[in-house]
C-alpha cells in the first residue's frame, strides 16, 4: 500500500485519539454524530489493529455498547411509561403499585419521545464505551507501560500483568483440553470438570509464582534509598493532589458549588499530584530500551482526536440544538458538528500499518 514500514503507532497517540472521540461523544446526544463516531472508531480499528490478543477485544466492547443501548430503551418502557406526553406508540396498561413506592410506575403508555430519549441517552454511553474499546484494541498495553511516568511504573506493571492474565488463561485452557482429548478418562460432566479445572488452575498458579520470582529478581517494588521523610512528603503530596482533584471534579459537576472550588481547585490538585509523581519517580531508576518513536503519524492521529473533542465542545456551547436535538424532529447537523464527528477517520490513513505476528511466521 505504501512504502512505509509496518510498525506499531505510539500507544499514547492511540489513547489520546480514542479519548478525544469519547470526549466528543460526551458533549452531545445527537444520534447522527454519535453513530458517525462509532463508525469512525470501527473503521479505524478494522484498518489498523494488529493480530495481538487485545486487538480482538473490540468486538466485546461493541457487544457491551449494544447491551447498554437495549437496556436503556427497555427501562424507559418499563419504568418511564406515561411520564412524558407525546405521541403514544404503544398503550400498555399500567401496573398498579401501592402508594408507598412513591412515584414509581410500571409500564403505561409508551411514547415516541420516551423511547427516543432512552435511545439517545443509551447511544451516548455506548459510543463512549466503543471509543474506549477502540483505544484498547489499537494500543499495545505493554508498550504503553514504557510511557507511564516513572512513579507509576510499578502500578503499571501490575496492570499489564492483570491485562495479560486472561489471554494466558485461555491459552492454558486450550493446551489442557488438547492434552485431555488424547487420553481416556472420566467422561461424566463433573469428573471431566475436575480433570480439566485442576491442571488449568495449577498452571495458572505456577505461572504466577514464576512471574513473581522474575519480578522480584528485577527489583520490583524495591524502594531503596528513600528516607522516611522523603516517603512522607511524597505520600502527602499524592494524597493532597488526589483530594484536590476530587473536590475540583465534584465542584465542576455541581453547578451550585462555589466556582472557586471548581477549576482553580482542579488545577491546584493536578499540580500537586504532578509534583508528587515527580518526587516519587526519582526513586525509581529506570532506563528505556529502544523507546517508541514519536513521529508525524503520531502527531496527526493525536491531533485528529483533539480536534474532534474541541469542535464538539464548541458545538455544545454555541449550537445547543445541534448538540442536544429535540425529540420531536429529525436531528440536524452543522458543518462543524460534522467535522467533529468524522475528523477522527484521518487516523486510518495517517497511522502506519501495524506489524503482524502472522506475517513474521
Amino acid at each position: 500500500m505504501s512504502t512505509r514500514l509496518p510498525r506499531d503507532l505510539h500507544p499514547v497517540a492511540w489513547w489520546v485519539w480514542a479519548l478525544g472521540l469519547a470526549a466528543a461523544a460526551t458533549q452531545t446526544t445527537n444520534p447522527l454524530v454519535l453513530l458517525m463516531l462509532v463508525g469512525v472508531a470501527t473503521l479505524v480499528v478494522m484498518a489498523r489493529r494488529s493480530d495481538q490478543p487485545w486487538a480482538g477485544s473490540f468486538r466485546l466492547y461493541v457487544i457491551v455498547g449494544a447491551v447498554i443501548l437495549v437496556m436503556r430503551v427497555v427501562f424507559r418502557i418499563v419504568l418511564g411509561g406515561g411520564v412524558e406526553s407525546g405521541t403514544v406508540l404503544l398503550d400498555l396498561p399500567e401496573v398498579p403499585l401501592p402508594d408507598w413506592v412513591l412515584g414509581l410506575r410500571l409500564f403505561g403508555p409508551v411514547t415516541q419521545e420516551a423511547l427516543l430519549a432512552g435511545f439517545y441517552d443509551g447511544l451516548r454511553l455506548a459510543t463512549i464505551v466503543i471509543c474506549v474499546g477502540a483505544g484498547n484494541a489499537l494500543a499495545n498495553p505493554k508498550r504503553l507501560l514504557r510511557s507511564v511516568p516513572a512513579a507509576l511504573h510499578e502500578v503499571g506493571t501490575a496492570l499489564v500483568v492483570a491485562v495479560t492474565v486472561l489471554p494466558q488463561f485461555a491459552d492454558s485452557a486450550r493446551r489442557v483440553r488438547l492434552a485431555q482429548s488424547l487420553r481416556a478418562g472420566d467422561t461424566r460432566r463433573t469428573g471431566r470438570l475436575r480433570r480439566y479445572l485442576v491442571p488449568v488452575l495449577e498452571d495458572a498458579l505456577e505461572r504466577s509464582l514464576r512471574l513473581a520470582a522474575g519480578m522480584d529478581t528485577r527489583g520490583y517494588g524495591r524502594s531503596a534509598g528513600a528516607t522516611p521523610r522523603e516517603r512522607l512528603v511524597t505520600g502527602a503530596l499524592m494524597l493532597a493532589g488526589l483530594c484536590g482533584i476530587c473536590v475540583g471534579v465534584y465542584a465542576g459537576l455541581d453547578t451550585t458549588a462555589p466556582r472557586v472550588l471548581a477549576t482553580p481547585m482542579l488545577l491546584l490538585g493536578v499540580t500537586v499530584a504532578v509534583v508528587g509523581l515527580v518526587a516519587a519517580g526519582r526513586r525509581v531508576p529506570r532506563t528505556r530500551y529502544r523507546p517508541d518513536p514519536w513521529r508525524a503519524p503520531e502527531l496527526v492521529v493525536m491531533a485528529s482526536g483533539l480536534v474532534a473533542a474541541a469542535a464538539m465542545w464548541w458545538v455544545a456551547g454555541h449550537q445547543v440544538l445541534t448538540a442536544y436535538p429535540g425529540l420531536t424532529s429529525w436531528p440536524t447537523l452543522t458543518p462543524l458538528a460534522l467535522l467533529a464527528a468524522v475528523v477522527g477517520v484521518v487516523a486510518a490513513p495517517a497511522a502506519p500499518e501495524p506489524r503482524l505476528q502472522g506475517a513474521l511466521a
Binding site: M36, L102, G103, R105, T322
Partner: protein, 291 residues
C-alpha cells in the same frame, strides 16, 4: 433586561404604596378558583419574566398535575435523561440557558407545589408532575426557583373550607420559606413592604389605582393574581400566556443556526460510507492475510 424590569417594578410598586392589587391583568388570568369544585393552576415565572399567572380549571379535580398544566395551555418540556422532570414551561428557560439534557441544578429549576384546598398552604410535591394527582378544590403550581432552597409561588392557594377569608392580605400563609433569608421569601410575609426588598416581581400585591373592588370580602384571598403589576405595561407586553410563548420559542429556534444546517442526506451518506468502509477494510485485510 430583567434588571431594568425589576427596577421598574420596584419603583412603580413603591410609588403605588400600600394599595392592594386585585384586578386581573391579562385575559388568560381567570384567577384562582372561587368555589371548591375546580382546581387552581398557577405558574409563577418569577425571574424568568412573565409574572405569576393563575387559571381556574373547573373540571380539574382528580387529574394529574401534568395534565392540568398542558390542558390549560401551558406547554411542558421534560429533561431528556430524567423522564418526568419538568424542565421548561412555555419554553422557559430557553435552550441557551439550559439544554434540558441533564437534570437542572437546585438553584434553577421548576418547583412543583400543590395544595389540597383546605390548609391554604403550598406543599412541596414529593412526586413528579405526571404522578401527582390534585383533588377537586385543590391547587397546583409550578414556580421557577433560582435561589438556594425552595421558593413558594407568588400566588396563594385558595382555601375553601374556612368560613370567610381573612380581611388582611398579611395572612398569605407560606410558612416554609420564612426562616430562610432568601430574598424571594420576604414578600410572602407582609406584602406591603415587599417591593423595596425583593428581586422577583411576582408576588407584589401592591398596585396603583386599580379599579378593583375592595380586596376584603369578595375574593377568597386578595393577592390571587399578581402578574408583575405595572411593569408589564411599561416593559413586557403582558403576561398573557400566548404573548409569552411566541417570542421565547421563536428566539429558541433562532439560537440554532438554521442556515448552517446540512441536508439530511449528508449524514446518512457519510454513515453508510463509514460502515461500508469498515466492512471493505475487513475483507481486504483478510484477503491480504490469506494470500
Amino acid at each position: 433586561m430583567t434588571f431594568v424590569r425589576r427596577a421598574v417594578a420596584v419603583l412603580v410598586a413603591a410609588a403605588a404604596g400600600p394599595l392592594v392589587w386585585v384586578a386581573t391583568a391579562s385575559p388568560s388570568d381567570a384567577a384562582t378558583c372561587a368555589d371548591a369544585g375546580g382546581v387552581s393552576v398557577v405558574v409563577d415565572f418569577k425571574s424568568l419574566g412573565g409574572g405569576a399567572q393563575s387559571v381556574c380549571d373547573p373540571h380539574g379535580g382528580g387529574q394529574k398535575a401534568a395534565a392540568l398544566f398542558t390542558g390549560n395551555g401551558y406547554e411542558l418540556t421534560y429533561v431528556q435523561r430524567t423522564p418526568g422532570f419538568v424542565c421548561r414551561v412555555q419554553g422557559l428557560p430557553t435552550p441557551e440557558d439550559d439544554p434540558c439534557v441533564n437534570t437542572p441544578p437546585a438553584n434553577a429549576y421548576w418547583n412543583l407545589w400543590w395544595s389540597d384546598g383546605k390548609t391554604g398552604k403550598w406543599t412541596y410535591s414529593s412526586l413528579g408532575a405526571a404522578s401527582l394527582t390534585i383533588p377537586a378544590g385543590g391547587s397546583v403550581a409550578l414556580s421557577w426557583d433560582d435561589v438556594e432552597g425552595q421558593s413558594t409561588p407568588g400566588v396563594a392557594p385558595p382555601k375553601h373550607q374556612s368560613a370567610a377569608p381573612s380581611a388582611t392580605p398579611t395572612v398569605k400563609p407560606t410558612p416554609t420559606p420564612t426562616p430562610k433569608p432568601t430574598p424571594t421569601s420576604k414578600p410572602t410575609a407582609t406584602p406591603t413592604e415587599a417591593p423595596t426588598e425583593e428581586p422577583t416581581e411576582s408576588p407584589t400585591p401592591t398596585s396603583l389605582e386599580s379599579p378593583a373592588p375592595s380586596p376584603l370580602p369578595a375574593e377568597p384571598l386578595p393577592p390571587t393574581v399578581t402578574p408583575s403589576p405595572t411593569p408589564s405595561a411599561t416593559e413586557t407586553p403582558s403576561s398573557a400566556v400566548t404573548d409569552e410563548v411566541a417570542p421565547t420559542s421563536g428566539s429558541a429556534d433562532a439560537g440554532d443556526p438554521d442556515g448552517g444546517g446540512l441536508p439530511a442526506w449528508v449524514p446518512v451518506a457519510l454513515l453508510v460510507a463509514l460502515f461500508g468502509g469498515a466492512a471493505v477494510v475487513v475483507v481486504v485485510r483478510r484477503r491480504a492475510g490469506a494470500s
